[in-house]
């Protein structure tokens, strides 16, 4: 497949860019932050997303979705990255929809996917338990009790965790932390007895929560996929999330970069635009190269998820590692090149820095993915 967007994908990008630029620019994020919005996102905006079909972008058409691919989901993520728009798109439309569509029974799909498509359900995976991403070290227990399971443990960094209606929880039904066998995915009603959610919004004003599970009863009917064999499904879901966040980082990094280049052209010191100084020109040119090289890897990762889902691991790690690093370079250079004004809360560039820091960490940082690639290549 050619490494360029096709006509339909380009149209989707243009539409998304037009819509978000008009309806959810950075002022939208600021307004949510400044009024300490209880949801952390705009339900009215999410309704618009639902009407455009975005909530069901990855949901197969037979369940009412658009049935589009990961490239298309990535196109939307990239535009959300440009405007730093908070929304349940990542948690619900990308991660939860993927998990249910790939591992659910027909009944589960009919029930949950149709609700996601209709905008009636916010759903999110609950994976991490420690400050660094180590899904195989999952310790939360799922103990069998008759025809159900009891969940005990704690999750952290759960996106939209305090507003989600449905949690997709990875827990250990066998084995010990570190084993990839013995993990099971559960579809858990977020209002179930024994679940406590503490909202912990992150530095970028996006949603996250810590969840504790105490004797939470889950029916065996709510197992997603097979008992003890949840690892492969989880890896697939995480790969989709990693590629999606990488696309978002491409958007955020490029937007920060283009604002910086514009500033280099207009800001004058010593009687001339600072963009005339070679010290800054070379750094800007280098950054341009890094972002372009990253874009290639991210597009390839998204295409690979569409073409050969089970073989996407290596390229997804390449994309996520690169996206985290080059977007980080972009925002660091952006603040430095903007000088004092880049340090002010009033100016937008710092908001990019905050979001990129979170994106770098989500589903494994560059070191995690370098290690993963080294393991895949056996060294």
């Amino acid at each position: 497949m050619a490494l360029v967007l096709n006509d339909e994908q380009t149209m989707l990008r243009d539409n998304a860019r037009g819509f978000l630029g008009k309806n959810a620019p950075i002022a939208h994020l600021r307004a949510l932050r400044d009024k300490r919005d209880a949801d952390g996102f705009s339900r009215a905006l999410w309704k618009d997303f639902v009407e455009m079909g975005w909530a069901g972008i990855l949901v197969p058409q037979e369940y009412g979705g658009l049935g589009l691919g990961h490239v298309e989901a990535g196109v939307v993520m990239e535009e959300l990255g440009r405007t730093l728009t908070p929304s349940p798109f990542l948690s619900t439309a990308v991660l939860a929809a993927t998990a249910i569509a790939r591992a659910g029974t027909d009944k589960q799909k009919k029930n949950y996917l149709s609700q996601i498509v209709a905008g009636d359900l916010i759903a999110t995976p609950a994976v991490d338990e420690t400050a660094k991403h180590h899904p195989e070290k999952t310790a939360m227990t799922a103990a069998r009790a008759g025809n159900s399971f009891k969940l005990d443990g704690a999750k952290t960094f759960v996106i939209d965790g305090h507003v989600a209606n449905l949690l997709i929880v990875i827990a250990r039904s066998a084995g010990k932390p570190g084993d990839t066998n013995g993990l099971t995915l559960f579809l858990v009603d977020a209002s179930a007895t024994g679940i406590r959610a503490e909202r912990t919004p992150t530095v970028d004003t996006h949603n996250a929560a810590r969840l504790t599970f105490e004797d939470v009863n889950v029916s065996a009917d709510d197992v997603l996929g097979k008992v003890d064999a949840g690892w492969n499904v989880l890896e697939g879901v995480l790969n989709v999330g990693r590629a999606a966040v990488a696309a978002e980082m491409v958007g955020a990094g490029e937007e920060a970069f283009s604002r910086t280049v514009a500033y280099l052209r207009e800001r004058k010191q010593f009687g001339r635009p600072i963009g005339e100084f070679q010290a800054l020109q070379h750094r800007a040119a280098h950054l341009y190269c890094e972002l372009e090289v990253t874009r290639s890897a991210v597009l390839k990762a998204l295409q690979t998820l569409d073409d050969s889902f089970d073989r996407a691991g290596a390229i997804v790690s390449v994309a996520k590692a690169r996206a985290g690093l080059s977007a980080t370079l972009a925002v660091n250079e952006a603040v430095q090149m903007h000088g004092g004004i880049g340090m002010t809360d009033e100016f937008d560039i710092g908001l990019f820095m905050k979001r990129v820091r979170v994106g770098q960490e989500l589903f494994g940082d560059a070191n995690f993915h370098a290690d993963r690639l080294a393991r895949l290549n056996r060294y």
């Binding site: 050619a2 490494l3 360029v4 280049v261 280099l264 052209r265 001339r272 635009p273 963009g275 005339e276 070679q278 800054l280 020109q281 070379h282 800007a284 040119a285 280098h286 341009y288 190269c289 372009e292 090289v293 990253t294 874009r295 290639s296 890897a297 597009l299 390839k300 290596a314 390229i315 790690s317 390449v318 994309a319 590692a321 690169r322 560059a366 070191n367 993915h369 370098a370 290690d371 690639l373 080294a374 393991r375 290549n377 056996r378 060294y379």
Partner: protein, 393 residues
């Protein structure tokens, strides 16, 4: 689609029948390249045969028109040919600056006579070309070049000298930048001419590099007569041709960097530093190698993406500066990692085990990649000016 699948089948069958077994072994180094020329040096009969067969098909330059000796293949067919050659491990039949640099410039700027005269000989490997660009006083500031071509009626009289002329001592012809109007601003008085290296007054002197090899020469022109018919493009407009050709040179250098060792960095390092639970015992080196491999894969995909963008008219004309800058810096990083992974083995300069210091020599050679064809700093200048539109660049 059916036609392409038929083409693929036929191509594979032809390659299997015609590519000698010796020409399917991995290239070990620069000495395995076949350069052709008036006085060709073939390593083996197989190498000669492989060149002859491929040239006969026009597949030394598959995308050039048949009338110029090419294969007349479409982009998609040429891609299939490359894929099938890779699948069978076929070596390139011919390495040639005529193909990679002069050809594209002649196709764009040359007269019909020039194309018919020179392109077929390039495709058959009959004439080996070299590039006369840099001068002792004109490196990064190439446009300040001083070699002069005076108007002598039907001919130019060329005097001056060039430096870093790759394989000038082995080349048959040169494509050369000369100053034809000393009074004009520096970019506007340059012309692009072609001449025979056997012309009276041409001499060359190889330069020994830190790697011990001598791929470059000093080249001297002392009252060399060049027919005016050998001017490419318009008089005093050679800078346009030069810039166009440089983008092709940059693409080529950006994609360079084989040491002939098919093992991955991780494998090489596993043998020298050892492993611990299947992971490299030197964890810092392991991290550096993984970081390199991430960037290297992303860069390969970028070359592919730039090609795909070019097909649909989306590639920026200055994108070759990105490829040249990034590719050469990446290659230097790889060579440093190979030296680190190789330890003292990689330091051996002589001896059979190191194959006469192959790693050390390749490492030293790589340092020139970010200098030749426009330094990394020049590429960054070009990106700042032409792609980012930064002021005063």
């Amino acid at each position: 689609m059916d036609n392409l699948e038929t083409f693929r089948k036929e191509t594979r069958a032809w390659l299997e029948a015609n590519c000698p077994a010796e020409m399917r072994r991995p290239v070990q180094g620069e000495e395995d390249a076949c350069w052709g020329g008036r006085h060709p040096v073939f390593q083996s009969d197989a190498q000669r045969l492989w060149l002859e067969r491929m040239a006969e098909k026009g597949w030394t330059v598959p995308e050039w028109a048949r009338e110029y000796g090419g294969g007349g293949l479409t982009r998609d067919e040429a891609k299939i040919l490359r894929q099938e050659m890779r699948a069978l491990g076929c070596r390139p039949p011919l390495t040639s600056f005529g193909i990679s640099m002069l050809g594209p410039a002649l196709l764009k700027y040359g007269s019909e006579e020039q194309k018919r005269e020179h392109l077929p000989k390039i495709t058959r490997g009959e004439i080996r070309w070299c590039q006369g660009y840099s001068e002792p006083g004109a490196g990064s500031d190439l446009a300040s070049l001083q070699a002069r071509a005076e108007d002598k009626g039907d001919q130019f009289l060329v005097n001056g000298s060039k430096i870093w002329t790759t394989y000038a001592n082995k080349a048959d012809w040169i494509f050369c930048l000369v100053r034809t109007d000393p009074s004009a601003p520096k970019h506007e008085g340059i012309s692009f001419v072609l001449f025979d290296m056997e012309s009276a007054g041409v001499s060359t002197k190889p330069i020994t590099l830190i790697s011990g090899a001598s791929p470059f020469c000093e080249t001297f022109f002392d009252d060399v007569l060049v027919p005016k018919a050998n001017l490419v493009g318009k008089l005093n407009k050679g800078w346009d041709v030069a810039k166009y050709l440089l983008t092709h040179e940059r693409d080529m250098i950006g994609g360079m960097g084989s040491t002939g060792d098919s093992r991955s960095l991780g494998q090489i390092a596993s043998e020298t530093v050892g492993t611990d639970n299947g992971m490299l015992a030197d964890t810092a080196l392991r991290g550096q190698i993984a970081a390199y491999e991430i960037d290297a894969l992303a860069f390969r995909l970028t070359m592919e993406r730039v090609g795909d963008m070019a097909k649909v008219g989306q590639a920026h004309p200055a994108v070759s500066s990105l490829l040249k800058y990034y590719g050469t810096e990446l290659n230097k990083r790889r060579m440093e990692l190979l030296m680190s992974a190789g330890g003292s083995d990689a330091l051996e300069w002589e001896g059979e085990r190191s194959r006469e210091g192959r790693t050390a020599r390749a490492w030293l050679r790589s340092k020139g990649n970010s200098i030749e064809g426009g330094t990394s700093e020049i590429q960054l200048n070009i990106i700042a000016k032409r792609i980012l539109s930064l002021p005063g660049a």
